[in-house]
């Protein structure tokens, strides 16, 4: 726990620095755009230059999203008396796991669903559980498949669902034992999704 909090502090410092770097890149490319707009029509490579600036702008945006998700992770081991918002935790996980999913040629997404549902778990615990469920699913999915995570409310509890494949196949994955042990320790229910597809994690309710 102490290690995780310390790593979190280091990561939070790093994301702050990343943000300063991205802000400087954005201002510098913005200045180039301004100068180009003020007389760049005489510049032989104006169009290519503009394209380059467009790429810079997109990459800054990408870096911003990444830094935001990483900053969320940095604070995720911190305990909170009100627990954590499940959708926020899954959004950060999906953002940071996209690269892992891409290695399996699977596209990972979070369904637009229920927000505001809280659990007593720390965000890092929700991310760990959902991450293990994703690890079970990825090797089983065909190329170009879509794996969707979602959050729902069932009987007053927040439920995180990893959409596919069949639960029985997921149970045979080597990562499942880890997931089951972790769920047991944290008091999280683990069961198949509707029609035996996917994994449903029933998370403990946050204190009111």
């Amino acid at each position: 726990m102490r290690d995780a909090l310390f790593m979190g502090r280091l990561t939070a410092h790093a994301t702050h620095e990343m943000q300063n770097i991205l802000a400087t890149i954005r201002e510098s490319s913005g200045l180039m755009e301004d100068l180009l707009a003020m007389g760049g029509e005489n510049f032989a490579h104006a169009e290519r230059f503009k394209r380059g600036l467009g790429v810079l702008s997109e990459q800054v945006e990408r870096g911003m999203q990444l830094s935001e998700q990483l900053n969320y992770c940095a604070h995720s081991p911190e305990p909170s008396p009100t627990g954590c918002e499940v959708n926020d935790a899954l959004r950060a996980l999906v953002g940071l796991f996209r690269r892992t999913a891409a290695r399996f040629r699977v596209s990972l997404s979070l369904a637009p669903g229920r927000t505001g549902l809280r659990t007593s778990l720390r965000a890092v615990e929700v991310m760990d559980l959902a991450g293990l469920a994703v690890d079970c699913a990825l090797p089983l999915l065909p190329r170009d498949a879509q794996l969707t995570l979602s959050v729902e409310e069932q009987g007053g509890l927040a439920v995180a669902r990893v959409g596919s494949p069949a639960f029985e196949a997921l149970r045979r994955q080597p990562e499942y034992a880890d997931l089951a042990a972790c769920a047991k320790t944290l008091g999280v229910g683990l069961c198949p999704g509707p029609n035996g597809e996917g994994i449903v994690l029933s998370l403990p309710k946050a204190q009111a």
Binding site: A23, T24, E27, L31
Partner: protein, 132 residues
């Protein structure tokens, strides 16, 4: 008030970032003075009161929120826009409680920044009229 009459003070220890921002504002006809730490910001305010101060929250030495508090005590008409990061959004909210006009997250969108500066200047001139 015309933008060329605006008096803007930019405060951030990220030299490249803040000087480039000043340059971009200048291209839009908005002059801005730049300082790189809290101590210099307090001196700059005492020397020539700006209409708007753009102030980074996390700086070495005197922190942004302390600069804000001290400026609001000595020069309450100065409108302060705080610059925050992911980790300092709470500081932005705390800054509003201490009298900041608004806060923005880095990286900035220059058009949004100028809109906020304009709103801050409008607010200050309306408040000044009401106070007369």
């Amino acid at each position: 008030m015309n933008t060329k009459d605006w008096k803007i003070l930019l405060v951030d220890d990220e030299h490249e970032f803040i000087t480039t921002l000043a340059e971009r504002l200048e291209l839009r006809g908005i002059g801005a003075r730049v300082v790189f730490d809290g101590e210099s910001a307090l001196l700059a305010v005492a020397e020539d009161e700006p209409h708007v101060m753009i102030l980074d929250v996390l700086m070495p030495g005197i922190k942004g929120l302390e600069v804000l508090e001290r400026v609001k005590r000595t020069n309450p008409n100065v409108q302060v826009l705080l610059l925050t990061g992911h980790g300092s959004t709470r500081d932005g909210i705390e800054g509003m409680r201490l009298g900041a006009f608004d806060y923005m997250m880095k990286p900035l969108n220059i058009d949004t920044l100028i809109e906020k500066m304009e709103s801050a200047i409008d607010y200050a001139s309306k408040a000044a009229k009401l106070g007369q």
